[in-house]
């Protein structure tokens, strides 16, 4: 309901029937401001409102083929090894978690009989344990029953470091204990307010013990079923060609009534985003194309009289400019951007504030991201109760100039400001990506007008995002003054998203630049708030703490949010996908259907 409304309203704004401000007001009215992490309310004792999925088909199957186009095709089909979303999406066709996230950031039971809450005794008041009950009678695709032993095994399998599963952190710091054949209890080492991580969502997919038991630990890569999944999902495995094709057929024994709707499923990989959009919107060869990161202008043109449209899902992904608090040009003990240095220019708060005033977010949205972006002053943009209302942003070259003037940065002969012999020159790096280079140009232009000389640098994405210790151009080494990229928010909870700026996570030579705090910003108040939030069981206090963290980052101008990005997909006019900005595209695949 919400999703549909949003889509119609976006269309209205697009056609000029509603202006932007009215649109925002109405969004608040339809409940956009309430995508609440259900489980947190559950801990607080608030009755849980499960958002019902409007699923219309009245019988299983009969929907013909469902043709999906993933322009980067899945390369492996074991959810515990799924490095990228593409792999998680492919695995998710066959494997299922206990629960998945729906569009509003609520938990939707899949293999679980019910979502744990204080009322049903699933949650402990001290937030140190969760009891999950499996739905009875669920069978693996080979006919064997799903039991609590499978859940315990998945925990053992993933948490074993020798397995080298990417889901390892989801399963560490906890133990899983079998209570009876269908019930397990997760015991956390520390109070864990965000308990819905293990067995939930993409990393929570469950693999069968009877097929993987022999391949735990060092032998994990030899398991024949890594490439031939046998799960519980709505579709059974037929064929897999890495990077090209995943094929499945209907699971006639599926555990949800009337589901799935389609008889076969095909996930085709390869190509590029524009032609994927074209195959769905213009020619209708495919029903759904994933992750259409294409300029809005192109999409609008394709949509004219097409066979499909673009659909948007709101999550918490943030595109931002990070500011380096250390000096990238001074080497200390063989390390640039060392914690022993301070940035000669950017340690001046006035310069950072001026920079924030020089990022014209409205233009970036208008020219580049269009319907796929929202302007924001916050680093943390969801779920709603974690979003700060205390912040604001503005674009004003005059105010920025004034601020710099007051701070003693005076224009030199060449128009570039300087103070104490230091020129106001900045190196601005990002990964090579059309929209990013355009954003760089917009920011550079505004900076020039304010007397800041900005040098642009773009690095190939495979290098920029790599963890290659030998390469100086990675985002985590941060050998530039400012840098821009996107950090996705993978779950409707801010814990992981905010934790990275804790002072203990600073990226240094010592930890091979694997620390996630790459701006190298250190703030005691922030550390205290993060530490408190991680064990706070009162949902309101916890939300306040994260809002405080966000506000601290805003006050100190640690990052300059450029755009709150939405997930964009192309979808045939008749297909009704169940999408969520808080989950992967295929996470609620069982609820997809076609309307005649």
């Amino acid at each position: 309901m919400f999703d549909k409304d949003l889509r119609t309203m976006i269309d209205d704004v697009k056609d000029g029937r509603i202006d932007r401000r009215a649109f925002v007001k109405r969004m608040i009215a339809v409940g956009l401001t309430a995508p609440m992490a259900n489980q947190i309310l559950a801990i607080g004792g608030v009755a849980m409102a499960q958002s019902p999925t409007p699923y219309k088909p009245t019988k299983r199957g009969g929907g013909g083929p469902l043709k999906l186009l993933w322009w980067q095709g899945p390369t492996l089909l074991n959810p515990h090894f799924a490095t990228g979303t593409k792999d998680q999406d492919g695995s998710r066709i066959f494997y299922e978690p206990l629960a998945s996230w729906d569009a509003d950031g609520h938990l939707n039971p899949i293999l679980a009989a019910e979502i744990p809450s204080i009322q049903n005794g699933g949650l402990a008041a001290d937030a140190k344990s969760v009891v999950w009950k499996l739905k009875p009678g669920v069978k693996w695709h080979d006919g064997k029953p799903v039991t609590a032993d499978d859940l315990v095994f998945n925990w053992e399998y993933a948490s074993d470091p020798a397995t080298a599963a990417v889901s390892v952190s989801t399963y560490t710091g906890l133990t899983v204990e079998k209570l009876d054949d269908l019930t397990v209890r997760i015991n956390f080492k520390d109070p864990t307010p965000f308990w819905a991580n293990a067995f939930v969502g993409a990393y929570g997919c469950i693999i069968p013990k009877h097929l993987f038991a022999e391949y735990k630990g060092g032998k994990s890569r030899e398991a024949p079923n890594n490439l031939k999944p046998i799960g519980t999902g709505p579709y059974k495995f037929v064929e897999f060609k890495p990077g090209d094709l995943v094929r499945g057929e209907i699971n006639a024994d599926y555990h949800m009534a009337n589901r799935p709707y389609f008889d076969t499923i095909e996930m085709k990989g390869g190509g590029d985003a524009v032609s994927a959009a074209r195959a769905v919107i213009q020619t209708g060869e495919y029903d759904f194309a994933w992750n259409i990161q294409v300029e809005d202008e192109v999409l609008l043109r394709l949509e004219k009289g097409g066979k499909g449209k673009t659909v948007y899902a709101v999550g918490g992904d943030i595109e931002f400019i990070a500011i380096n608090f250390t000096d990238p040009n001074t080497e200390v003990d063989g390390e640039r951007s060392s914690m022993k240095t301070r940035h000669p220019i950017l340690s001046d708060a006035a310069v950072r504030k001026a920079l924030a005033l020089l990022v014209d977010r409205e233009s970036v949205k208008k020219v580049i991201y269009g319907r796929a972006g929202r302007t924001t002053a916050n680093y943390l943009n969801g779920p709603e109760e974690f979003v700060s209302k205390n912040t604001r942003w503005e674009f004003s070259i005059d105010k920025a100039s004034q601020l710099l003037e007051q701070a003693g940065w005076k224009a030199g002969a060449d128009g570039i400001r300087e103070k104490d012999g230091k020129k106001l020159k900045l190196l601005y790096q990002t990964s090579i990506n059309g929209p990013r280079q355009k954003t760089q140009a917009i920011v550079k232009q505004a900076c020039q007008k304010a007397g800041i000389d900005v040098e642009l640098k773009s690095v190939v994405a495979s290098v920029f995002f790599s963890s290659d210790v030998a390469n100086p151009d990675t985002y985590s080494k941060f050998y530039s003054d400012i840098e821009m990229f996107q950090i996705p928010m993978t779950q409707p909870d801010p814990a992981l998203h905010m934790r990275r700026y804790h002072s203990r996570n600073v990226a240094t030579k010592e930890n091979k630049w694997q620390g996630q705090n790459f701006p190298r910003w250190v703030n005691k108040d922030f550390d205290v708030a993060i530490d408190a939030a991680e064990t706070e069981t009162d949902p309101l206090k916890r939300a306040d703490l994260y809002i405080k963290c966000n506000d601290l980052m805003w006050q100190d101008t640690v990052v300059i949010p450029v755009m709150h990005r939405l997930a964009v997909d192309a979808c045939s006019n008749t297909l009704r996908p169940a999408l969520s900005g808080w989950a992967n595209r295929s996470d609620n695949l069982q609820d997809w259907y076609r309307e005649a």
Binding site: P65, L69, Q72, T75, L76, N78, T83, P161, A162, A164, A165, V166, S167, V168, S169, T170, Y203, G218, R221, N226, L227, E239, K241, P242, G243, D244, L245, R247, E266, K268, G269, G270, G271, S275, R278, A279, Q282, T283, E285, Y286, S462, V463, F465, S466, S467, D468, D473, Y475, S476, F485, I487, P488, T490, L496, H497, R500, N511, K512, Q514, Q516
Partner: protein
């Protein structure tokens, strides 16, 4: 003859070793990390990445990794893909049929166009036919395949809606319908590639023919009263084909190697698209295997071309 072939094969071994060493070192020194995607993912702790690196032996020195690779390759083990976690040979064999079918048909089409057109144009140099063929050939090889590919898609898929532009490997139909569908979906990529190849090959055939057609023995053949067709086919073409055979033989590895751009545009799951996605994902074992196999094919087809010379022109002897 057999001695010659044997000697050439033996000479090939050190050159292949050299090629593999260069490839391996370049790949090892290239920036990027197969597990780089994990770096920005806040769910994945750095230790996992480190564990994966150790598991796949990425932290060992280059020469150890090279020797390990060489030993495995000698036993027919092509390596293990980091990204797909499966054997590289399975991965490549999966991609081979589509490549052979599409690229092979394109090469065939190119030959079927280039040889008759080139020969005919050479017999009537500077005639209207020759002029038109020349102009089209110039246009043909001046237009890059990524341009013609997109143009074809816009015309035949988007505007006219005649042909699909996403290549599928699992066509539902059976029997004759399956064959028809296979042909239908291959028309555009084969045309794009085939016409491009044909354009340059036509020019080549024409000039090779022109070189031979003026020679005295051709005049002699004509003087002894042989018909035009016989002179051209038996006497001129056979001799003119030597450079053409070289060209074709050197293009044969490309039939196996795929066409990166065209495969990407039409989503053909061929070797070319495997190579490019592996490069983008820094999946070194796959890149290494594909490029090395490629090198082997180049060496092999060079040898085949040399052997063919002897058959085309018995004056060439093997020593």
């Amino acid at each position: 003859m057999s001695q010659y072939v044997l000697r050439r094969l033996l000479i090939a071994i050190p050159s292949l070793l050299g090629i593999s060493l260069v490839l391996f070192v370049v790949l090892a020194l290239a920036p990027g990390d197969p597990f780089g995607e994990l770096a920005t993912n806040p769910n994945v702790p750095p230790e996992v990445q480190a564990a994966l690196r150790t598991k796949f032996g990425l932290d060992d020195p280059i020469y150890i990794r090279y020797l390990r690779w060489l030993a495995a390759m000698a036993q027919g083990d092509w390596g293990f893909s980091f990204v797909s976690r499966m054997n590289v040979d399975t991965l490549i064999l999966q991609r081979l049929p589509a490549t052979l079918y599409v690229i092979g048909s394109a090469q065939l089409l190119a030959l079927l166009i280039a040889i008759p057109v080139g020969v005919y144009a050479a017999t009537r140099p500077y005639s209207i036919f020759d002029q038109v063929a020349n102009t089209l050939a110039f246009v043909g090889f001046s237009l890059p395949t990524f341009f013609t590919g997109i143009l074809f898609i816009l015309i035949f898929s988007v505007k006219l809606d005649w042909l699909p532009f996403v290549y599928t490997t699992d066509i539902k139909e059976t029997g004759i319908l399956w064959v028809l569908e296979m042909i239908r979906q291959a028309i555009m990529p084969v045309m794009v590639l085939g016409l491009f190849q044909a354009a340059s090959m036509t020019r080549f055939v024409r000039s090779a023919m022109l070189d031979v057609i003026r020679l005295d023995y051709v005049t002699t053949a004509r003087a002894k009263g042989l018909g035009q067709a016989k002179v051209i086919v038996k006497h001129v073409m056979r001799n003119a084909m030597i450079p053409v055979v070289t060209l074709i033989a050197l293009q044969m590895p490309a039939v196996f190697g795929g066409a990166i751009v065209t495969e990407q545009i039409f989503r053909i799951p061929g070797i070319g698209s495997l190579l490019i996605s592996s490069i983008l994902a820094n999946d070194t074992p796959v890149i290494m295997a594909v490029t090395f196999v490629f090198a082997c094919l180049v060496v092999l087809f060079n040898l085949i071309a040399d052997v063919l010379y002897g058959w085309l022109d018995p004056r060439i002897s093997f020593r």
